[in-house]
Amino acid sequence: MTTAITIEHVSKSFTAGGQRVTALDDVSLSIDRGEIFGIVGYSGAGKSTLLRTINALERPTAGRVVVDGVEVSALGGRALHRQRQRIGMIFQRFNLLQSRTVFQNVAYPLRVAGASKDEIVDRVDELLRFVGLSERALEHPSRLSGGQQQRVGIARALANRPDVLLSDEATSALDPQTTSEVLELLRRVNREYGVTIALVTHEMEVVRELADRVAVMQQGTVVEHGAVYDVFSRPSHPTTRRFVSSVLHHLPDAEALDRIRRVHRGRIVQIHVENRESNDPFLSRIARQHDVDYNVVYGGVSELQSRLFGTLTVELLGNDLDVDRAIAGIATSAAIIELPPSAEQATSAAEELIHA
């Protein structure tokens, strides 16, 4: 797999109100051709700044950015304008030209690139068909819904057949239903046109639905990155964990665990299940074998990129020796940890489990 975008030791700082602000601090990432790469972080983490270095809307103060073999961060003038025509971009607030029709908005980048009239008409027709807005070609953006406006934004970004599409919080202003429609469209852009997509979002759901790989940013640095499955199933940085738990509710928090304990007086274990290929019903097999009963008291299993992972919180009932043996037995099939009786100890134990 070849690399589409390389970000090498990129730093960006500026002076605001007499104070030196570091927006990016030595960030290195590489994005493969044809993949969808998510950059997630809270606001102010530097993710939009990072995205904007890819088409040089932001200039790094140090480091370099290479797109398709061209060092974008070193370009200026005409060469930069030409390079930008090959990188599409969509925005949170769509940024369509209100004084132009839908057709003219999509035609704009083609005019900039110097396409002929016939080419423009053909290409805009094709793009509006692709995003399902052929009937709205002669209307103005203000007459369209948010989702439709973003589809115009996507058509416009694709006009010059870019290899790379940058998406800056493209679904953050949309309702959940419209968000999934736009995400579906972006998936088609990636699959049908082979466009590499770099997307910035603060919604982990977007990453989960769309991305192949993800980088988590905090205070201008990438604190964790990897395949979406790995990051979701085994988040290591506290910020990543917070993001993951915003969409996956596999682990009980301290309060939930407290409530569980009030009802379930037996020994409580957590079992981490991941991408099980075997169909061995290990839980009931082992329970039967050691004469132990079990009770699933909390848990969740999710599918990501057609692979399963999750955590079950289970109460084991039986005499201590049998339960000990059952835990040892389960440990041969899955990661398992017993929760100590107090709640705080329990949550830190749960984090250990995931990294066992």
């Binding site: 930008r84 209100q98 704009y108 203000s142």
Partner: protein
């Protein structure tokens, strides 16, 4: 009670209306061109913009700030030598035009500049991201996107010009204002006064309605 002499009034009213319209149209066209160009220059030379130039921006800015607070009646008198040099006379309808055009130009320059500055920076960024040069962004995005509010601003200036022409009447420019002053104020002919006021109200209304329509048409918003 004096007789109301409609037959004598109508021609006078017509002539005054014509003079007013002549003054407004001429000065409005000149100021529209000069003011909008100045506004674009102000915008483009602003720090961080296409033709960033502290000297030009600072000088223009100062010039406008000097002219704007001066009362129109003083400007029209102060400009008499200039007008005489320009037109060979300092009285009459056309003689009011340089002063009217000057005040309207600086006002329009300010309005145009603020409307350009107010254009959604997101669209400017989108233009840059699509590979448009800064000049292209200015002419194909910033200016077209500002036209709606700019039209409303121009309408406002048009109405302000109606007001200013009344003052121009003082220096013998004629027009509705001068008619109202000579007959209504100096001769206590309230009928003439009211006729002039009604004519002015209709004129302003028509201008505002037309301005609103044009603004809506260029803005494409409901």
């Amino acid at each position: 009670m004096r007789d109301i002499d409609l037959e004598a009034l109508l021609p006078k009213l017509g002539e005054a209306l014509l003079q007013t319209l002549q003054m407004i149209t001429l000065s409005f066209v000149i100021a529209g061109v000069v003011g909008v160009l100045l506004g674009i220059l102000l915008y483009a030379t602003r720090p961080g913009n296409l033709l960033e130039n502290r000297l030009v921006f600072g000088a223009l800015n100062a010039l406008i700030n000097v002219i704007r607070p001066i009362p129109f009646i003083i400007i029209i008198i102060a400009l008499i030598p200039v007008t005489r040099a320009l037109l060979g006379t300092s009285i009459g309808t056309t003689a009011a035009v340089p002063a009217l055009a000057l005040v309207a130009s600086v006002a329009i320059a300010r309005i145009a500049e603020s409307n350009l500055v107010a254009v959604d920076p997101g669209t400017v960024e989108a233009g840059a991201a699509m590979g448009a040069s800064p000049a292209r962004v200015l002419f194909t995005i910033v200016i077209p996107e500002s036209l709606g509010p700019l039209t409303l601003g121009l309408t406002y200036i048009f109405v302000a010009l109606v007001d200013a022409t009344a003052v121009a009447g003082l220096v013998g420019a004629g027009g509705l204002g001068s008619l109202a002053l000579t007959y209504g104020y100096q001769r206590f002919d309230w009928f003439v006064m009211i006729a002039v006021i009604v004519t002015l109200i209709v004129l302003v209304q028509l201008a505002q309605v037309a301005g609103n329509r044009v603004a809506r048409a260029v803005q494409h918003q409901r």
